[in-house]
Structure formats: structure tokens, C-alpha cells
Amino acid sequence: MKNKFLLAFFILISSFQCFADTYYVGLDYTMTGIELSGEKAEPDATAIRLGASNNNMALEVQYLTSNKTENIYSMTFDLDQSVGLYFVLQSDIDDGYGINVSLGYAMNKMAVSGPSDTYNGEDNYDGFSWRIAIHREIPYLEQAQIRLAYQSLYKDSNIEITGISLGITYQF
């Protein structure tokens, strides 16, 4: 799966580079939500985003890693890392505000530890991922934006991994 992801990433980068005219980097604080069986763990995380855009479209890579672990009862959840590749649809900027919708694929690695009769292990939760974000230009710093986003990193019939992010984006 990782090889396929890298293949897709390089194909996209090489095809996108030919018309990308703006590059950007973002740094987010993310409160993730790991929800299953009606229970929820919310470990904090930090995310870095790198992207290239042109004409209201962008290609973006996100790397996210948790800052700490979180427990559900006696089980400890650690979202080791999440790497995602997104195609971003960007609205026009109106009065300093803009909206982004991202569709992509995320590879999430999560470790769970607990008493021996519960569950212990590290698993990959890879699949379709989406985000919606609203951003606002920072006055007197036109190349920077403050950004609030909700993202779904993974979802199946048993588990859902989501995140609410607050961060900044800087365009070069």
C-alpha cells in the first residue's frame, strides 16, 4: 500500500509541477478524535502541510503526529503518524476569507496498548480522507493565513479518526 501511495504521489507531483505557480507550507495544532464503540479518545497532534497550487487547485501533502497519548478506560491510544495526499479545491478569496475542500488518501498508523485481555498492537488505518477548511488572511501579512479545518482521516464500520485543526499557512 505504501508503494502504491508513493507511486501516486510522484505521478501527481510530476504532473502538477508543470503548471503550479504558488507553493505553501502550513503548521496546525490538531485535536484528533478516535471514536469506536461509542467511546472517544482525543490525543493532541501537530500537522505540517506542504502544497503547490494553481488557479484554485492545489496538491497537498500532510504529515501529522500526535503530541501525547490518550486513554479509553485502561487502553492507551497513540496516533503515531498520519500521512495524507490531497487534491484541494480552493474558493476565491472574498473579503479576506476563503474555503478549501480537500479530497485524498491518508495512511494512519495507530498503536494501542492495554491489559493483556483487551487489545495490544499497531495497525494501519488507510483509506479515503477528506477535509473542509476556512481560512482568513492575516492583516499586514498578506502571504499568511490563519486556518480552521475539520478532517476525516479514516472511517470504517468500527472506527472513525477525525481531526479539528487550527493553524497557519504561508505562501511563497
Partner: protein
Amino acid sequence: MKIKSFINFQKLSFIAVLSICAVVTACGSDNNSDKLAKAVKLESQRAQGTLIESVTILGDSTRLKAGETHQLSASGVDSNNETRDITNELTWESSDTSIATVNNAGLVTAVANSDINQGIVIIAGTTINGISGEGEISVSDVAVTTISLKQITPSSGSINTCIDAYISGDVGYVDGYTSLNTIKGMNFSLDSDSTAIVTSKGALYTSAAQLETSTITARIGDIYGQLTVAADPINLETLDILFDDEVTKIITLNVGERIQVNGQANLDPTFSTKQYSIDNSISWSQGDHELIGITNSGDNKGTILGLAPGVTTLIGSCGGKEAKATIEIKGESTIDSLKINDGSDIITIAPSESIELILTANYNSAPNSMNVSEFAQWNLNGSDLFDAELTALGTDKASFKLTSSANNKGSAIISVIYDNIISSVRINVE
């Protein structure tokens, strides 16, 4: 122009590449999310003291024929010594899926009849903490030999008049198997002197003012079993009329407005302090003035429709007791005209076809029109062309449904009287 076309071409190319990448990556990972979810649920129950410590399978010891289904349920006692329905918490398993399967909601499907070991399969349900319960289901199509009826609620003694009681039976088969507590395939009937009602699901509704003994007969083919049940109103203390789940003595509604009332029985407090719903047994009537339409049977029994302004009394009767409520109906009800369906004088149908006749009363003021089919007097005028019945009782879609017989053709005048106004329609069967 050429530059713009080039950029558009590049965009389209990129979207095409993106689509290919989406296809390449559009599949999920193999993980253990089901085991993880189960582990979290187990931890949750452990923390809350709701881990199940014993399981009882309910509805087992039943015989099915291939193709039939049967719903099992399960109850469990948890660490807090509380009992709850755990039917949907169990992992269900059949000991022989070639004879019967069971889904994760406890629904058993008989796959094939079997003569081996009376066609018995074991259905097991296991909780997430590994506690199991078992029950048996038998799948065979051999003949019935005996039916032994019994009271379920109450399990013995006289039943309390007006309070719903339930009948079930143990059915013996040629191969020696006995299906317990079942009504599957039974046709119930009552002796002709009984005023009680028995339903196809084995529910017994009684309403006699004195001690009444009824003989219930259950038949499967030529085999039958009988049970004599005594319904005694001695413990019946009072009745109440409920409106919006509250005991009420006064109800106000408008002409054309439809409400639902319910009946409730209170027994001698030394016997029981519980309140019992008696919607199935209570009979509804009204005082001298015919101001309301009352639905007295069917799924909407207890529905009241305001027909004319004034004040009347709603009476609920059962077991020799009565509950009364004053009903005030507000508004106007001067009828301008009556109309059957769209007002056509002649309706033509084919043999074996049905027609639903709806009588609409048109008023000079609100409500401008009202379906009064249920509360009108319909008359076939001696015609035997049709079977007739009132349908959708207690609703705005109530109708007088005529079904013509297969071979008869002809014509009939169907007349109807409502509020002393007569209307009619000719039905041709061609």
C-alpha cells in the same frame, strides 16, 4: 487563445492523472478495527459493571419447517445483577448451518428438514466477554400429533377481565419432538357463548361484566387442543380515560379534529397497584347526542372525530365498569352537500375488482370538507354483486370498500345516509 487551450489541456491532464491515482489508492488497509472495537466495548462494560455474567436464550425449543424463520432473543444478567435484553450484543452461532442458520440479530432461518436427531440444532449466543447461552431449534416437516394449550400471562388461575391475557401451546410431533410455548401454525377460536376475543397471536381480550368461562380451541390441520379460561372482573376496581397519556374527565376538540383516547384499568390495590392498558378490551360509546365519531375496532380503536358542535359524554366500558369524560366539540357543521368520491353518478368496475367509496361532507364553514365514510349508513339496497367492508377506520382515508365477485355482472345502487342527507351512486360491473 493557444496559451489558454494549453493551460486547459494541462488541467484536464492533471485531473485525469488524479483520477488514475484515486483508483490506484482507493482501497482500505487490512487492520483489526473489529477486534479493537470489541476490546473497547469490553473495557466500557467492565468499567460500568455491565459485563454479562449469565445468558438465557428465549424463544428456543421450537420446531420449524425448511424456509421458515424464527426470532430468538436473549436476556443477560450483568455484574450489577441487573437483567437486560442482549439479543443484539451476542455473537450467534448454529451447530449445523446445513439445517438452520442464525444471523447476528438472533433470527433463525430453517434451511433443510432433517430426520436425524429430530432435526435438532443448537443455537448459541456468546457475549464479548465469552459468556454463552444455548438453545435448541428443530427443523422437520413431520406431522403434528398433539396440542396442549396453556395460559402464559397469567400462568394459572382466573384471568382478570379487561386485562390482556396470552395463550400458548406445546405441540407434539410424530417423531417425539415437542415444540414449547408456540402458536406457530395455530388457528384459534372461541366457544360461541363467549364474549371474549382471541387473536391469531394468542392474545385473549375479555370484557364481560360477570365471571365468564371461555373455551379456546387451537387447531393445526385436524389436530386440536382446548383450554378453558375463566375471566373474573372481581379485582377490577376502576377505569380511566386517557388523553395524551393523562387521565382526563374533560376533552375539547373542534369539528373535523381527530384525537386518540386510551383506556386504563386499575385493579384492587391489594391485588395490584399497577395501571393496565385496556385498549383491546374497552368498548367506546357516547351519550345521547351523536356529536362524535368513535372508532371501536381495528388498529385505530379509540380514535374520536368531532362531527358536530355541542357537548356529549364519552363512555368507556369494560368488565361492568365505566369511565366517563365530557367532550365539548366546537365549531360549525352546517352541511352544504355530500359527495361520493368525485361526485360521479356512475362508476364502472370489472368483475373481481374493488372500488373504495369515500363520502365527503362539504360544509359552509371550516372544516370545508370532511371524510365521514366511517360514520355514515351505507346500504347495498339488496345487491349481492359485492362484498362490502369499511376500511382504514379511524383515519382520514376511511372508505366503504366494495369488491365485486368474479362471475357476476350487473348494476347496483349504493346509497348512503349521513346527517339525514341521502346520497347514492350507481356501480356497474362490466
